[in-house]
Amino acid sequence: MNFELAKQRRSAAPHRSMFLRMLIRAAVLRRGRAADALLAMVVAAGVTTAILNLYVDTQTKLREQFRNYGANIVVVAREGEGLPADALQMVRATLPGGSLTVPFGYAVARTSDGRSIVVSGTDFDKVRKLDSWWSVTAWPQKGAESEANAALVGIRAAKVVTPQGRPFDLSFKGRKIHLAPAGTLKTGAAEDNRVYLSLSDFESWTGLQPSTIEIAVSGSAQEVNSTIRDLQRPLPLADVRPVRQIVEGEARVLGKMRSTLLASAVLIILTAALCLLATLTGWVFDRRRDFAIMKALGASAALINGFFAAEAAALGAVGSVLGFALGVGAATWIGRANFHAPVAPRLSVFPVVLAGSILVALLAAIVPISLLQRFQPANILRGE
């Protein structure tokens, strides 16, 4: 009855080669064991994908973190000279997208009781992005009329010019300006001693051009250096220099992180590969009876090797595709959880994972097969 049914089904099935059929039926009939092997494959490929993705991407992410330290390049006018009027446009045109450029103009003004104070004109919106560590009680409002002559007063300067937070006067070369403090600024550095106002107010009051442009560019040390060279060319009269303190500190920390990540990646990938090797070897070894029957039926060594190799390769391919999807998901989640920005999936990782998975799977198949080749099929079939 059963036999009839099977015969019927067989004749109904479309004509396929025996080889393919054996491959598919082997996987379908031993669902449990095949699923175990596939699971191991998927997890190994997934972990590898995730770690490779992270290894490539976190360095960029960490580099972005370092941009919070502010400018890594400064353009400074030579002593006694201002920057050319179109310097800012020129700098912005030269820089890659996503860079921040903030102009600063400086002047020494006098307070109403004759004390010297440094006044700086800048672009508040940009400073806020560049120098995120500035602790400001209230930024001067943009757009509204209140922005006119609104000033950000350093916490130490405030004690001198406006202890009660009232509007105050400053003079520069005999020209007076009336300023309303919008908020106080605290950084723990030289900024605490200064009064900041908007660049347009600063220019119309002092008649001075910005003398410094602070620039934050993302990139490796080489990229930063080539940006500096690109900037120096159109600005021969200015000094373009890296903020070494930041650039070197960043390079140092990132270098160590790269090595740590690499060491972790090697360890994890090695563990995953070994786990896979053990599982697959067990799986193939478990099927020594299939092997013996095939051999007893007269299959050549090449055919048997080919069969198990094809099986392993198929497993590796399917496992790595599923694993890749899983790994990309895991990497994205880690990116979001830790850096609040998703890790972009890198398709370039896929061939590596695919080739690696197939290689490990083949290795796992070949070892037990070559071991089994030494035995007589009869012995295996008798369960010895």
């Binding site: 960490l62 330290y69 010297s116 560590w133 723990g188 060491a263 563990t271």
Partner: protein, 417 residues
Amino acid sequence: MFVRLVYESFRRQKRRKLLAGVAVTLGVCVATAMIAVATDIGDKINRELRAIGANLVVTPQEDTLDVEIGGVNLKPPSDGAYLNEADLPKIKGMFWRNNIVGFAPMLPVSVTVAGTNTTLLGTYFAKQIQFGKQDFVTGVRITHPWWRVEGEWPDDGSQNVLLGERLAAKIGSHAGDQIEIAGQHHLISGILSTGGVEDDQIVAPLSLAQQFIGKPGAVRRIYVSALTKPEDAFARRDPASLRGPEYDRWYCSPYPQSIAYQLQEAIPHSHAEQIRQVAQNEGTVLSRIKGLMLLITVAALLASALAVSAAMATAIFERRTEIGLMKALGAGDFPVSALFFAEATLLALISGLVGFLGGALLARQIGRSIFASQITIEPVLLPIILAIAIGVTFAGSALAIRRAVKFDPVYALRGEA
């Protein structure tokens, strides 16, 4: 009988036990190394971040405004208050003294060199200081590691100076030349390159700068490089509003704020402030790196847990005949499972121990080759790792044991899997 079964199983199936044992050892080894690296990475990166420079600055309490543009200080030298150099060693007597990596006093003085007005900055380079019984070395070579000198660093007790590279190019001096500053001749021991305002200045030993303004022991400000903990809401609270245990907790946490507070206590008439650019970002970078390592460690734990359970499952699956025999002889599900669990526990304990030692060695190697310093392994980690190893081995075995026990002994004995 039970003990004998377990013992004989280990004695007779050396190859299989070794295979499973190697898998557990390897898994535990990787897990230990990753946990050790992840717990220590914060401290290591914190030290690396000190390369960005001092994160705290101490100034006189009653100081006048600095009038400084591009590093040129326009404030009259007689103006303003000073700190006392004699108070500096007290920094090493603070509660968090071991977190102070280094400090450097600064005293800028206006001088005229070869017809140019410039600043002479007095500081420590690598000065030997004594506090109580301990000796330590501190100065800009520790707090400002990005400063580079072509030639020699001057000795702190000498009259030699460093010339900033732009100033040197301007007046055409080289290392080894003499320079006249305020009527005195000094040897330029090296040319300094910092990428900052110091490139236009002269940097000299602190005592020399004090001579120029005739104020022995005067210091304008002190840069302190300290290992700190990322600040949180508790750190931002005003110490005056805290009382009792809360105050103690605040005081005894290495927040930038509490270290600044202690610096103020140590140095009379001073005001200590965190340099927000350095101190604030340090916390973010540090927490990102720590978070990343934590997540990667979780991935490593997952991978090794899977390796262990896969190895255990395979080992048990191979022993179906044995299980069938035991069941045919009348053993119930429970004794059979107990036997396998006992074996798994023993295996996990032995391999876990070996793996822990291996992992400790691996972590040390990583620490030495990447950070050039030791990664310490807390002994507390051993029981935790062993517990995890046993747990994972159990979990890995459980499914395979359940499947093996459910299997009909007749099929198992006939070898029809």
